[in-house]
Symmetry: C2
Subunit: 333 residues, 2 copies
DNA sequence: TGCGGGTGTTTTAACGTTCAAACGCCCGTG
DNA sequence: CACGGGCGTTTGAACGTTAAAACACCCGCA
């Protein structure tokens, strides 16, 4: 493996000149630059990242803790990881994976990785209500950015990027309304979840703005399973005035609702319009396809990396809009 | 951030002695070791990984290319990544994620990461039939290990770990047979897939061994979707002698079959027993739960890391058995 | 008393890179 | 012709660690 020294000898210049050829080519006379580049090419030289990092004390690696919540499915994690990798690579960086206990118990792991200079900073995700990691990292002055807000805190300790769930569900409501729906229900999670309340608020406000009813049209599911979604749909359809549209908080709940609708001999997209959230792979694999709110993963990842690697002045809080992907579950054909 | 030098000064020993305290404590006199350790503790010293890697030319990082096949779902990728991370960490290593074009086009990326000393080696997955990456890496002498065999090659270029798909489907057949099933069908993929043919062979051989029929009991699906699975099930159930058991190549196909069975008013697990493959999160989220073959991710990951980091002498090919997770789709109750 | 040998510690040098300062050269100017 | 200044290049030192060799010390033994 060729080193800077060998390239320098081959090109008959000093070591520093070769270094400059790579890091500050404008400093070299064009002919020198050409000669050095030829030697680099010829010797197939690749700079040693460790030596560089040692000198500059920047490793160009970003830590990401691979989540392991056995009780919740990560159907879009591969999309997120791919986008995050790609965004990091576009700035010459990479993603380092690690595992850590959830919550504050895992913080020593973060600290250690940073102190040993394995990573420059962290991308957090799976943010929980009152997530303790933010304050901890902030206090230790470890760079980080969060995918997801810390709910129910007056001031959020650090920068974040998130998807505007309320705007998303409002989008779904307006879409269903445009397709002629007039009683649009919401299937969500318990009120303790900030994310769930956000999405529910979007649904409620949009309905109110359109003069649509909302009372008696919410069901809170304790679990994120098909059965829970199906049961919620059953509850709604058995009510005195059954809905003709359902906005579900997740794709899994929406699929459950679809199943229940089909089981009753109703046709999804015709008798009842249904929307999900996340545009997980499942949405495209069922029939009719599930209309769902796609999180703009590429934009999210790009924002995360930008904020982490060269933090702009001022508040670093980005709220991105999800995109409604329309399929058969909300519109026939 | 404290350095070795500062710890040495604090403990009134030489720098090398502190290094030894960490890497070869048996060389120190117990009282010196204690003194050094106290200083390490006191100064909260953490060794700088870059300096270490520069000196030893081992980065303790393993590259893994995050797959992006838009047409196939990665429902168990998070399980795999978590297991891989944990296994790597148990040897003091970590996983570095990157993206690369599929196939041989991506090889320069692998080469670059290795040449710049960002990683020591690679874990491959998503192995394709006649995967060209293996030969390429072998030729460049870049350490790697593959999760998945290279099918249809007389000699595989490098070490691998894989799940015995044939043993898995055989397990499923024997399970269904034990529950009284006598006509067990197989829903798979096109014959061009080595993985699919392996799993089909396991089904066929197990049926033959149990004197069960196999002719006319295979359907090859072009896609891995619920619809394809449902259509395959419909085809089988419409046949002259409909099956009472179905072994599906994937969870998605199995779920499709379940849907079709339910649609016909039949009861999964009672009228027809169904099994899937991978034990993806979906299997546990539907009702009845889907009986499925779980890949032993922790064992797989441990083997991968072991083979990569200290390769045992002799052939390094590991075939691990999947585990049948029984749920309602194959056994009532 | 001197010598070989083990044990524990220190010294020296190196890993491959970049930063900061120094250097040499050429050119325009007074 | 001396001088200042810009440009392109080189020199020296440092980043924090570890391998290998050198060293100091103590002990047992001749």
């Amino acid at each position: 493996m060729a080193t800077l020294k060998q390239v320098a000898a081959h090109a008959e210049v000093s070591v520093q000149t070769v270094s400059n050829a790579l890091n500050a080519p404008h400093r070299l006379r064009p002919d020198t630059l050409a000669r050095v580049n030829r030697s680099i090419e010829l010797l197939n030289y690749r700079p040693n990242r460790n030596a560089r990092s040692l000198r500059t004390s920047a490793v160009e690696l970003i830590g990401y803790c691979v989540p392991s919540w056995p009780n919740r499915t990560h159907l879009v994690m591969d999309q997120f990881l791919h986008a995050l990798c790609a965004a990091a690579e576009s700035t010459g960086r990479h993603i380092l994976l690690f595992t850590a206990p959830p919550g504050v118990d895992g913080m020593p792991v973060y600290d250690d990785l940073h102190a040993r200079r394995l990573v420059d900073g962290f991308v957090l995700s799976q943010t929980e209500t009152r997530d303790p990691r933010h304050g901890w990292l902030k206090e230790k002055q470890i760079p980080f950015v969060s995918f997801g807000r810390v709910w129910k805190e007056s001031t959020q300790p650090g920068p974040w990027v998130d998807v505007d769930g309320a705007a998303g569900t409002a989008l779904a409501v307006r879409h269903l309304h445009g397709a002629g729906r007039r009683r649009i229900a919401f299937i969500g999670w318990p009120k303790t979840s900030g994310l769930a309340e956000d999405r529910r608020a979007g649904w409620r406000n949009a309905c109110t703005a359109l003069d649509l009813p909302t009372t008696g049209l919410t069901v809170h599911c304790a679990e994120d399973t098909l059965d829970a979604g199906a049961q919620a749909a059953a509850e709604l359809l058995d009510g005195p005035q059954p809905p003709d549209g359902i906005v579900a908080l997740s794709d899994v709940l929406a699929l459950g609702a679809l199943r229940e609708i089909t089981r009753r001999g109703l046709v999804p997209g015709v008798d009842v319009g249904v929307t999900g959230f996340d545009d997980s792979p499942l949405a495209d694999v069922v029939s009719p396809g599930l209309t769902s709110l796609r999180q703009p993963m590429d934009d999210i990842a790009a924002e995360l990396i930008t904020i982490l690697t060269d933090p702009p002045a001022g508040p670093t809080e980005r709220l991105l809009l999800p995109e409604l992907v329309v399929r058969g579950s909300s519109a026939p054909g």
